[in-house]
């Protein structure tokens, strides 16, 4: 199984190199995407069956070697990455204009490699390197968006690197204290105290910046909106999730902090509300979708304050139940959001292209020309809003149950209102797209060529998956718990 972990990292890296050299870049990208998905499935199955998969890169033992460990959340996000990357690659292969340039394929593969490394890395420093790889790849991808994208890209880069520095300092503190350390079981070596608190604080701010946790999110709407159509889905669905997973691993690994946890939860709540309202208010389609990502990050970190009591007092059975539910809920929302957001961004990209403008108002009546794409956007929106039977609904259910059981009524409120806000934002787009010109209006949009199936299908598949995965998703919920130590 160790080989699988190594392959997960090396395959996209090698792919990136090949893609940079050979002309048939899309083919390389697609092959790597398929292989990656297959590897992800194998790894996830192994994790689900046998628990976390361990390994070492290069065969050297710690501290010089690189410790690998694929836990449940990692495997789950790996699966997500496999599915999303394949779908996005299919879309990009079908619509070269959506890629932003020939640099697309190598950059994507670098980014994927970074993400996979984040997921399988088990020590603090490897994670740092992986995060940087992820950042550089992602910034490069944003920059493919052309002139309008350069400034957001710089902004993204600065913010992300600053976040990395904060994380690096935290890593240094940990190393100075304990020597090389696995991420997943720091609590024993790092007893609560000033040092641990500082580490937690640095990680929360640093990775919060990278994950666009409100109010550190200001870079995200600009960057995600400016990126090319085949890039935004990857950024929103995967890149943001990478740092988020690390944040959560550190949090559970170090045992958390009650007050900071509450602060994070409150910020998450604010993210849901502000992001939701802002999404409703956006005039531009891709910014609308991007703001919904801000809200979704908020959903996920809502689990932090709910998990913390159990981390602080592992003997409390009730708290353990709450923690388990919250963790499952948050992680499922993360996964569901990945699928749905990728679908939404892909669809949004196609719609912008068909409409010839990225204002919501430009979409008027576009359902007549691109019915499948509008439907995709709607279905993805349903999943984003966490309505049944989507996967996000299952996550929301768990998270709500945890919030109720944990007495976090503010979180309940946030979850419920947030869903409505997302639904409102999506409904606005769908209604505009459906709006048929009145008979007396002449400005009927000229009928263009229909959107080809191979363009529409990847997004639709993702959206349907986001909706359909809710049924029978208990295994996924179980998977997200494997090897995290939450609720045990």
């Amino acid at each position: 199984m160790t080989d699988v972990l190594v392959l997960l990292v090396l395959l996209p890296l090698a792919g990136a190199v090949v893609a940079a050299l050979v002309p048939a870049r899309a083919v390389v990208g697609l092959v790597v995407a398929v292989a990656q998905l297959a590897l992800g499935v194998v790894a996830a199955a192994a994790v689900l069956r046998d628990g976390p998969v361990l390994g070492e890169l290069g065969g050297w033992a710690q501290p010089l070697g690189i410790g690998l460990r694929l836990d449940g959340p990692g495997a789950a996000v790996g699966l997500l990455s496999g599915v999303v990357v394949l779908a996005v690659a299919a879309h990009a292969a079908a619509v070269p204009a959506a890629t932003g340039g020939p640099g697309y394929w190598p950059l994507v593969l670098v980014t994927v490699a970074g993400l996979q490394t984040v997921l399988v890395a088990d020590d603090w420093f490897t994670t740092y390197v992986a995060l940087e790889l992820l950042t550089v790849g992602a910034v490069g991808l944003v920059a493919l968006g052309g002139r309008r994208a350069y400034e957001p890209a710089v902004r993204y880069l600065c913010v992300a690197v600053l976040g990395s520095f904060a994380y690096l300092v935290a890593v240094a503190l940990v190393y100075a204290r304990t020597g090389p350390l696995a991420l997943h079981d720091g609590a024993a070596a790092m007893p609560p105290g000033a040092a641990t608190a500082t580490v937690l604080g640095l990680v929360v701010v640093g990775l919060g910046l990278k994950s666009a946790l409100f109010p550190l999110h200001a870079w995200l709407p600009a960057a995600h909106a400016a990126a090319p159509a085949a890039v935004s889905p990857l950024l929103s669905a995967l890149v943001v999730k990478g740092s988020l997973v690390v944040l959560l691993r550190v949090w559970t690994g170090l045992g958390g902090d009650a007050h900071l946890g509450t602060l994070v939860g409150l910020l998450g709540g604010l993210a849901v509300l502000v992001g939701g309202v802002a999404a409703v208010r956006q005039e531009r389609l891709k910014r609308l979708v991007a703001y919904s990502t801000v809200a979704q990050v908020g959903y996920v970190v809502l689990l932090v304050p709910l998990v913390t009591p159990s981390l602080l007092d592992p003997t409390d059975a009730a708290a353990a139940d709450v923690a388990r539910l919250a963790w499952q809920g948050g992680m499922l929302i993360l996964l569901a959001h990945g699928l749905a957001k990728a679908a939404a961004f892909l669809a949004a990209g196609t719609l912008v292209q068909v409409a010839g403008g990225d204002r919501v108002a430009d979409l008027r009546g576009i359902a007549a020309r691109a019915p499948v794409v509008v439907m995709t956007f709607g279905v993805a929106g349903v999943a984003l809003a966490g309505l049944p039977p989507s996967l996000a609904f299952v996550g929301k259910w768990q998270l709500l149950t945890a919030a109720v059981a944990g007495g976090a009524w503010w979180a309940v409120l946030v979850l419920l209102v947030g869903g409505l806000l997302t639904a409102a934002a999506v409904a606005r787009v769908v209604a505009t797209a459906l709006r048929r010109p009145d008979d007396d209006e002449d400005d009927a949009p000229a009928a263009g060529a229909p959107v080809p199936r191979r363009v529409a299908l990847p997004a639709l598949t993702l959206a349907v998956l986001a909706i359909g995965a809710g049924v029978g998703s208990a295994w996924l919920a179980d998977l997200t718990l494997v090897g995290t130590g939450v609720g045990t």
Binding site: V159, V205, G208, P215, A218
Partner: protein, 590 residues
């Protein structure tokens, strides 16, 4: 003999459906089909006639699978009235077939449906079936009333429908209360009501609901507008058969003979008397013979109402009163139905060779209604007198007062005759089905009751022919005739004001208290309408305000915040603030 029962219900329904189906279309074949169907529709009443003739020999009906369970049987109350109903509806159908009214097929279909309902009311053995029939009869009858589609018909229809629905609902509520008390089977109903904790409400609802149908003053107002507006065959069944359903309802459900209800009884008697005599004024001041006939119906039903009222007052008299009421109803149904049909028959045959027989028949019917000796009316009135003799009701001397109803009837019928006979009849036709059925009614309304009363209701003594009895029956009629003569003479000699001498229905319009009631209703509707508009405006304003608030509230700050954060420096400041917050939280933690 379930099949006979089934046929009695199914055949008329089948014919009604066929007629309705054939009602539209203008082709010659369609017309022939309609005519054939209408002519043969009489046949569909045959099973019902057989039931009425067989009586208890037909056995009871029990269909637990149908509706809420259908049961029926023929008893002393239902059987004679069913017979009258069959004859009346048959006559009405025949008259419809021959009349020149338009859309005869529709009229025929409605009559058939009403018949099924009406007959069901008469024979029902349980409360649910009774209610089923009651509604099945009452609602389609609206179609009879408005059939002519004139403004008068529509107005009458409105009055009819409003009162009928009120009646319907009162009946439903009352019947449900009866069922609640354990009176699902009609045989148990009076006792159940008597023992019900909701006795008062139940009786009140029943009096109201059935009172409307039975034309109890002041709920009678639909009768004098509906009858003239409806085609005569429809008037005949409305007056002859349908209003009897109200009486049957009283007899079936009220706790007659079970418990003395002085309050309700007195109320009923007083109202009934009010109706019996009060209608004289509007009745003689009308110009329309059918209005006069309608008022006469109200008067006669008042007579019956007195009987029921007394039965409520004095349980010991109940049995006799009930039988008297049934006899009276049978008599009045046949005779009054005959009189209404006379209007049609007279209009078509009044000038031909049938003129004299027609006049004679009509005179006989009128005398019978008025209660002249030898007529069915006298039988009924005698029975009533016998029943009331022992009454201790002391508000009015009933035995002395009631014969005067005969006088009222005489006056009203005379008024009708004065207006009807000089009217120009259309060209005469030959003898047709309508004349024949009318003739049956003449016999039924004058003689048959006598026979039937003796046959089926041996408890009721038929009047002898001794002078006292004969005089008792004669003087009210004579008094009425004398007054009529006086009035005619007075008006001839211009002794009366013009409005009284040649009343045209404007002084007291048909429907009397209906007119102010309509005005009040219209005013109330206007007020309601204004109120509704006002609340609508208020609601719209509130909604607009809510929308405005919703659109404004949390959005402004968020917009501003996001605008602000989109610049680098404020966003950087936000990062610093968060870092500071995190530090504060961690530093503040113990």
């Amino acid at each position: 003999m379930t099949w006979l029962w089934a046929a009695a219900a199914a055949l008329p329904v089948a014919w009604a459906v066929a007629l309705a189906g054939a009602a539209s279309g203008t082709g010659e074949r369609r017309r022939t089909l309609r005519r054939r169907l209408l002519r043969t529709s009489l046949l569909s009443l045959a099973p019902a006639l057989a039931l009425a003739v067989l009586g208890p020999a037909a056995g009871p009906l029990d269909l637990p699978w149908a509706f809420l369970g259908v049961t029926a049987e023929l008893d002393d109350v239902g059987r004679p009235l069913l017979l009258v109903a069959v004859v009346l509806y048959g006559a009405a159908l025949a008259a419809t077939a021959d009349s020149r009214t338009h859309r005869k097929a529709v009229l025929g279909a409605l009559l058939l449906v009403c018949f099924v309902g009406n007959a069901t009311v008469l024979v029902a053995a349980d409360a649910a079936t009774f209610y089923l029939g009651y509604a099945l009869m009452s609602i389609p009858a609206y179609g009879l009333v408005v059939h002519e589609r004139t403004d008068a018909a529509r107005r009458a229809g409105r009055a009819y429908l409003v009162l009928t629905l009120v009646s319907e609902m009162a009946v439903l509520a009352g019947v449900l209360l009866v069922v609640l008390a354990g009176g699902m089977r009609l045989a148990d109903a009076p006792a159940a009501v008597a023992g019900s904790p909701h006795l008062g409400v139940t009786v009140g609802l029943l009096l109201l609901g059935f009172g409307i149908k039975a034309g109890l003053a002041p709920l009678h107002v639909w009768l004098p507008v509906a009858h003239p507006a409806a085609p005569p065959p429809a008037s005949a069944v409305l007056s002859g058969a349908m209003i009897k359903a109200g009486l049957v309802g009283w007899l079936r459900f009220l706790p007659l003979g079970e418990v003395a209800l002085p309050g309700w009884g007195t109320l009923l008697v007083v109202l009934a008397l009010l109706g019996a005599f009060g209608v004289l004024v509007p009745g003689v001041l009308t110009a329309d013979p059918k209005v006069a006939l309608a008022y006469s119906s109200v008067s006669q039903m008042g007579f019956i109402g007195v009987l029921v009222g007394v039965a409520l007052l004095e349980p010991t008299l109940a049995e006799a009163c009930v039988l008297a009421a049934v006899v009276y109803a049978v008599h009045h149904g046949a005779a009054k139905g005959g009189l209404f049909l006379s209007v049609t028959v007279w209009r078509f045959h009044g000038r031909g060779r049938l003129r004299v027989p027609l006049l004679a028949g009509m005179a006989l019917l009128a005398l019978a209604v008025a209660g002249a000796p030898l007529g069915s009316g006298s039988v009924a009135k005698y029975a009533a007198k016998q029943a009331l003799e022992p009454s201790t009701f002391d508000v009015v001397d009933l035995v002395a007062t009631l014969p005067l109803v005969g006088t009222v009837s005489t006056l009203l019928l005379a008024r009708a005759a004065v207006r009807l006979l000089p009217s120009t009849p259309a060209d005469a036709w030959g003898v047709d089905a309508s004349v024949l059925t009318w003739a049956v009614l003449v016999v039924g309304g004058t003689v048959a009751t006598w026979a039937l009363a003796g046959l089926w209701a041996p408890v009721v003594a038929t009047p002898g022919l001794d002078p006292v009895t004969t005089w008792d029956a004669t003087w009210p009629v004579l008094l009425g005739l004398a007054l009529t003569a006086l009035a005619v003479a007075a008006s001839r000699r211009d002794l009366l004001p013009r409005a009284l001498a040649h009343p045209d229905g404007t002084l007291v319009p048909a429907g009397d208290v209906l007119v102010p009631a309509e005005r009040a209703a219209a005013a109330a509707l206007r007020v309601a309408d204004r109120a509704a508009r006002a609340t609508g405006r208020t609601r719209d304003r509130a909604a607009a305000r809510a929308r405005a608030v919703l659109a404004r509230a949390p959005v402004g700050p968020v917009d501003r915040l996001e605008d602000l954060l989109s610049a680098w420096v404020p966003a950087g400041a936000a990062v610093l603030v968060v870092a500071g917050l995190v530090g504060l939280v961690l530093g503040g933690a113990p």
